[in-house]
């Protein structure tokens, strides 16, 4: 199990030494969230309805854009090749990398989302559900994204290709993530949606590391 | 006959659907046949080139 913690510690140290990457993801999230009101208009009534959906799509795009970083650096300097030769289950190492990626790209979005929610005039209780849904949803985005990142390793035009590969797979997470907030604010209560998000998380935790590890072996063959 | 094409006022939609399906399926076959033809020519040319070399 320390394969996971070892990998997380390594990547967190690396991320701390190159803080810029974490900030670029955050800035992207903030800018996209700020663009929509400019496009739609300032009146709070529409923004309040759009809020959850816009923030969720912005978080989803921000997390997807940072997928390239998950394996690319290790692929370039050869550490990824070493990972495949370590006497550790590769799927656990990949899980460690995904957790580290989430800490750098998912968690910051979760922490910042309430602030952006205020821009959309969301009430505190709605913001609470938004944070919970992002907390459950962003790890799933990183887990599914890891498969896409591993498959498109070292390919030219990899960034756009990853988007085409993973966005269709993100649809259920988006539906129930944004749906939870919307259901809560419309009085239906978001518990049903959140529990489904939790189910997606468990399923992704079980399957994605193995699939991403297989994809890595294919890419490095 | 005109009545038949008129399709009770929905002519555009019915023929729009059947027509496009027919066109796409036919196009797929045509492209496949052309691809096979081009492939066979390229391969025979390659073989002749290799035979001349050896």
């Amino acid at each position: 199990m320390f394969a996971v913690t070892g990998m997380v510690r390594r990547d967190v140290i690396l991320a701390m030494r190159r803080r810029a990457d974490v900030l670029t993801t955050l800035f992207f999230f903030v800018i996209v969230a700020a663009l929509f009101p400019l496009g739609i208009g300032p009146e709070m009534a529409t923004l309040r309805i759009m809020g959850p959906g816009v923030l969720w799509v912005a978080a989803l795009l921000a997390s997807m854009l940072s997928l390239g970083r998950m394996f690319a650096a290790d692929y370039a300097d050869g550490t990824l090749e070493q990972m495949l030769v370590l006497p550790q289950p590769l799927s656990l190492l990949v899980l460690g990398k995904v957790v580290a990626h989430w800490l750098g790209s998912g968690l910051p979005l979760v922490l910042l989302s309430p602030v952006l929610g205020l821009q959309y005039g969301l009430a505190p209780d709605v913001l609470k559900v938004l944070v919970i849904s992002l907390l459950l949803g962003t790890p799933v985005l990183s887990l599914i994204g890891a498969i896409g990142a591993a498959l498109t390793l070292g390919l030219r035009g990899g960034g756009v290709l990853v988007a085409l590969l993973v966005l269709p797979l993100y649809v259920p997470v988006l539906i129930f993530g944004a749906g939870a907030v919307e259901a809560h604010s419309s009085g239906l209560g978001g518990e049903g949606h959140l529990s489904l998000l939790g189910a997606f998380l468990l399923m992704a935790l079980a399957l994605s590391p193995w699939a991403a590890a297989t994809a890595l072996r294919i890419s490095l063959d | 006959m005109a009545e038949f094409f008129h399709m009770g006022g929905y002519g555009l939609y019915v023929w729009g659907s059947y027509g496009v399906v027919a066109v796409f399926l036919a196009l797929e076959l045509i492209f496949l046949a052309r691809r096979k033809q081009a492939l066979l020519e390229r391969l025979t040319a390659l073989r002749e080139m290799e035979e001349d070399k050896s």
Binding site: I147, L169, S219 | Y10, S17, Y18, V21
Partner: protein, 245 residues
């Protein structure tokens, strides 16, 4: 499409077999399509509610079924290819994807053309149409990944893994979209219109079989091209090219 596998898993055996069966498949396709279209456009009674527009259903539903079925077939070939490392399975998966994608596109096209007279809008965020759209994206993803990788072996295995990941997600996507649709729009609009009496069911089934045979034709044709491209160094290809003159 259950070909008994062992004999035809070798490209040199599959190529002639596909060649021999292509004329029959093509004939079957043409015949069934003609019968199906005739019944669909002529003998099926006019629907009291939708008038003639419902006749679009006779090709929309088969196209949608085929787009779903071919994705499963592609994923099955992909799985076989990954587990048994057989090139033929990967070639068939590569041959299936474009036909499946075309059926998905046609399902969307005919869905829109049917939606326009029915609900006055070219695009309706109906659960089935939306899932079909996402399925179309999944097809594009698999084909784009295969096209982006130069090394053929990696391309086969990477797109195979993506197809498998996709097929696991298709039901999840379908039910999430269905839930999302009911949440926002209440009861979904019943797509197939009034209760179908028997005479309306026949054209649809016939056309489904026709499309199914059609997919055999295109997949076999494309697979034969794939075989020629990949096995061009094999001596049986050499002989084939030589006596083709």
């Amino acid at each position: 499409m259950a070909i008994h596998w062992t004999k035809y898993s070798a490209p040199s055996a599959f190529y002639p077999m596909a060649g021999r069966s292509l004329p029959w498949l093509a004939a079957g396709t043409l015949l069934l399509t003609a019968v199906g279209v005739y019944m669909g456009l002529f003998s099926a009674p006019t629907d009291y509610k939708q008038g003639e527009a419902y006749r679009i259903m006779f090709i929309h539903v088969p196209a949608a079924w085929m787009s779903m079925w071919l994705y499963i077939v592609m994923a099955a070939y992909a799985g076989l290819g990954l587990v048994y490392n057989t090139r033929m399975a990967h070639m068939l998966a590569a041959a299936t994807a474009p036909t499946g994608a075309i059926f998905a596109f046609l399902a969307l096209w005919t869905g829109a053309f049917w939606g326009r007279p029915m609900w006055g809008a070219w695009w309706v965020w109906d659960a089935r149409l939306t899932s079909e759209l996402i399925l179309f994206f999944l097809y594009l993803g698999v084909m784009a990944l295969r096209a982006a990788i130069d090394d053929r072996q990696r391309a086969d295995r990477a797109s195979a893994l993506l197809a498998l990941v996709g097929v696991v997600n298709v039901p999840i996507i379908y039910f999430s979209v269905k839930w999302w649709n009911t949440l926002h729009q209440g009861a979904t609009i019943d797509f197939s219109g009034s209760k179908m009496d028997r005479s309306m069911l026949w054209p649809m089934l016939i056309l489904t079989v026709a499309f199914w045979l059609y997919s055999f034709v295109t997949i076999f044709l494309r697979a034969r091209c794939e075989i020629l491209e990949r096995e061009r160094h094999a001596e049986w290809v050499g002989e084939l090219l030589d006596n083709r003159g």
